[in-house]
């Protein structure tokens, strides 16, 4: 482990260049900065917990559908297909950002300061697409409420609002993470940039996967 200083408050610790995204790619485990490794583990643990949350919601949906005689199918607003494409596109732009960052970060010392002007615009694009997605979800709510379907109207509309709202909240959290990463990429220590962008992108890609799962569940069940 090179370029390490103690005590706390000293210069930042080493980072293995290009460790964005996967610890395995970074080679031997001992080469990975423990804080970056912990952040990656933490974000995966976070992903597990969030998935468990939505697994609980979805199993509640399945049980509730089979219980009462009051389940009325609803037609999902068409804007959801557009929103899905937007979210998938945002994963693509984030992937471009990560690749450009990974290519550039190799030329910097892990404890040095650096800026990544070629990667940043793609990150901004991702955040912008995230905002469009949220706006699109709001349009979907408007469509349903215009049909007279509110939160308490019937169980399928209840689940629609609950699932989209919970997912939307998590997407907003992901946007906060991306904004944090963008600020880091603008000015900061390389190891912290690797850590922030890696965590934010793992989370963001998961938001896309989760949305596709929820969308399929809603398309089949609601």
């Amino acid at each position: 482990m090179a370029s390490t200083t103690y005590p706390p408050g000293g210069p930042a610790v080493s980072a293995t260049a290009g460790a964005v995204g996967a610890r395995a790619r970074a080679g031997a485990r001992a080469e990975v900065n423990p804080q970056i490794a912990a952040t990656q583990t933490g974000i995966w643990v976070c992903v597990c917990a969030i998935f468990m949350c939505f697994a609980a919601f979805v199993s509640a949906l399945v049980v509730r559908e089979g219980t009462g005689a009051d389940w009325q199918r609803l037609v999902l607003p068409r804007v959801l297909y557009f929103n899905t494409l937007i979210l998938l596109a945002s994963s693509y732009t984030l992937g471009v950002c990560s690749r450009r960052f990974a290519a550039a970060v190799r030329q910097h010392a892990p404890d040095g300061y650096a800026q990544f002007p070629r990667a940043l615009p793609w990150l901004y694009a991702t955040i912008f697409l995230g905002a469009i997605f949220i706006f699109g979800q709001w349009l979907a709510w408007r469509t349903l409420s215009a049909e007279g379907l509110y939160l308490a109207t019937n169980p399928s509309s209840s689940f629609f609002y609950v699932l989209t709202a919970m997912h939307g909240l998590h997407v907003l959290g992901g946007m906060a993470g991306l904004i944090y990463a963008a600020r880091r990429l603008g000015r900061g220590v390389v190891s912290a940039q690797v850590s922030a962008l890696g965590a934010a992108s793992t989370y963001w890609h998961f938001m896309g996967v989760l949305w596709v799962f929820l969308f399929l569940v809603m398309a089949m069940r609601l």
Binding site: M1, T4, T5, Y6, P7, P8, G9, G10, A12, V13, S14, N33, P34, Q35, A37, A38, T39, T41, G42, V45, C46, C48, A49, I50, M52, C53, F54, A56, F57, A60, V63, R64, T67, G68, A69, D70, W71, L151, A152, N154, P155, S158, V162, M166
Partner: protein, 591 residues
């Protein structure tokens, strides 16, 4: 002898200076651990007082409790507890104890303080999340306690808050309006706090271990906290959605849990087709793992402490205990339905839940045999923490055995709503976990406070508590077998009247045992400020927390990271001293 070499710094934060940053909004895992333990201490005495009120009412139903009418004019007019207020007390007792004591102290409290030290880290992986975790839990506690002071008082649906009683609002009884909503909000917040905590525990254990600290060299207490964090991560991620849906049923008019055509207090409830059983499934899918969140840290603490005072390693080795704890964690997710045998479930599903429940006895029995086998033939040092370890084993066996009966659906149908179940879960979960907490506090107080606790007072505390809990909970088995239903506030049916003297005995035992806890409180406070100074390693123990000063410095090891060379429990070895620290280099003779 403590070889310390320079290892990478993980955290850049310097020791804080101001009072607020140091003791209130602290990022230091040790302060946060003590905050959790402090919160648990406040909660446990509050919960105990609530149980006193219930017990007094059960023994002497016509006795007016002085001053209670001032606190709750509606719930206890003239000091006499109404049946509804009895249920409120029961709900708050259960909720406070299960969440804010049995989860907070052994897992979040000790885990926060000692997990990073035992793996040689400076702090948790995410100190800010750690701080948020405690303060979210604190707010959850305040929200719950606020239920005592809102208009219609605390909720009465029990700590399980079964729907539709919990989901229809004020028509269901006093406390079911604002009080029940506060309950659901509080528990939702609590889930968020514990999720943040579990996240921290897992990442810290996996990634911040010091050089040489292989997973197999981690102390069993750290293993237990790690496994508990894995259980908690899934359990609280299940309860949080349940609480959200419950809040929506109560405030937004949805019908997740509230069935159609439900008439409560002569009023047709405006809900359609919800499933009360859905709440039970969601709740117990959390609720059974929650039992293990309370007890697995106890397993770890006992397994960590017992070898120190038996002066020999755990019989069978650490790997078997780790395997047992992992098996417990895994099985805890397969058995939630055994809480629902009486819900009208299909008898075939009941068998599916009964079999894994009985299989749980295998890892539990392995653990118990390992502890008792380790004690057998050992030159025991009977200190207070050692006594509490032995007490833990005793109450865990006593409570576990009644589990055999309850795991079988046909027997459970008779026993489920009786005091037999009250006795079972208090022994195996509550008292056992509390004994684990006591063992931990007496054992680690020298490290946490830098001062030794008083042994004489400690032994008085142990024996009074140990005898006391048996006097309280052993007779409850017989009450249950005699058909004494639980959750009733008074026993007026003909067949229950002859049992009232037993209740009086239990009440007296509960009051005395509770009073004995003030010995502990005095001992703790006195030790904290005026106790004799503790050496770095008073118990001659081997793990990393004993290789640093008492109390540890801000970064735990004074600017260095320890290097680990040994397994965690090298006791009874040949040499000038009968133990080898984990930080001692070299091969052990005869190993």
């Amino acid at each position: 002898m403590h070889d310390m070499s320079a290892q990478p710094a993980v955290h850049h934060h310097a020791p804080p200076q101001g009072f607020i940053r140091k003791y209130v909004f602290s990022l230091d895992h040790k302060v946060i651990g003590l905050q959790y333990i402090g919160l648990a201490l406040v909660a446990v005495f509050l919960g105990m007082v609530l149980s006193w009120l219930m017990r007094i009412h059960l023994g002497w139903a016509s006795f007016a409790i002085p001053g209670l009418d001032k606190i709750s004019p509606n719930g206890a007019p003239g000091g006499l507890i109404t049946p509804e207020y009895y249920l409120s007390l029961m709900t708050m007792h259960g909720t406070i104890m299960v969440f804010f004591v049995l989860t907070n102290a052994p897992f979040a409290g000790f885990g926060n303080y000692f997990l990073p030290i035992q793996i040689g880290a400076e702090d948790m992986a995410f100190p800010r999340f750690n701080m948020m975790s405690f303060w979210t839990t604190f707010v959850a506690f305040i929200v719950l306690i606020a239920a005592f002071f809102v208009g219609d008082g605390p909720p009465l649906a029990g700590w399980t808050s079964y729907a539709p009683l919990s989901s229809v609002g004020g028509d269901a009884g006093p406390g079911q309006a604002m009080g029940q909503t506060l309950w659901a909000v509080s528990i939702g917040l609590f889930c968020i706090g514990q999720l943040l905590g579990s996240l921290n525990f897992i990442a810290t254990t996996l990634d911040l271990r010091t050089k040489g600290m292989k997973l197999s060299r981690m102390p069993l207490s750290t293993w237990a906290w790690f496994i508990t964090a894995c259980i908690g991560l899934l359990a609280f991620a299940d309860l949080l959605p349940a609480c959200i849906l419950l809040i929506l049923d109560r405030t937004a008019g949805t019908s997740f849990f509230t069935p159609a055509n439900l008439v409560v207090s002569d009023k047709l409830q405006p809900h359609s087709g919800g499933s009360p059983l859905l709440w039970q499934h969601l709740f117990w899918f959390f609720g059974h793992p929650e039992v293990y969140i309370a007890i697995v840290p106890g397993f770890g603490i006992i397994s960590h402490i017992l070898p120190v005072f038996a002066r020999k390693p755990l019989l069978g080795g650490t790997r078997v205990m780790i395997g047992s704890m992992i098996a417990l964690g895994f099985l805890s997710y397969m058995v939630w339905g055994h809480h629902m045998f009486l819900s009208g479930m299909n008898p075939f599903s009941a068998i599916l839940f009964s079999v894994p429940t009985l299989i749980i006895t295998i890892p539990s029995t392995i653990a118990v045999l390992m502890w008792t086998g380790s004690v057998y033939g050992a030159k025991m040092r009977f200190t207070t923490p050692c006594l509490f370890c032995l007490g833990f084993i005793s109450v865990f066996i006593s409570g576990g055995i009644s589990g055999f009966f309850l795991a079988q659906p046909s027997i459970d149908i008779f026993l489920h709503a009786t005091y037999f179940v009250v006795a079972h879960f208090h022994f195996v979960m509550a008292v056992a976990a509390i004994f684990g907490i006591f063992a931990g506090i007496y054992f680690w107080a020298p490290k946490m406070f830098g001062r030794m606790m008083n042994e004489t007072l400690g032994k008085w505390h142990f024996w009074l508590t140990f005898i006391g809990v048996y006097c309280i909970f052993m007779p409850m088995h017989y009450l249950g077998l005699a058909g004494n239903v639980r959750r009733y506030s008074a026993f007026t049916a003909d067949y229950l009247v002859p049992l009232i003297p037993v209740h009086k005995f239990i009440t007296i035992a509960a009051l005395l045992t509770g009073a004995a806890q003030f010995i502990f409180l005095y001992n703790l406070i006195h030790t904290r400020y005026w106790g004799p100074k503790a050496p770095d390693n008073p118990w001659e123990a081997t793990s990393l927390e004993w290789s640093t000063t008492s109390p540890p410095p801000f970064d735990n090891f004074g600017g260095k990271h320890p290097v680990v060379y040994q397994d965690p429990y090298e006791y009874g070895v040949e040499g000038p001293q009968d133990y080898v620290m984990q930080t001692t280099p070299g091969k052990i003779a005869g190993a």
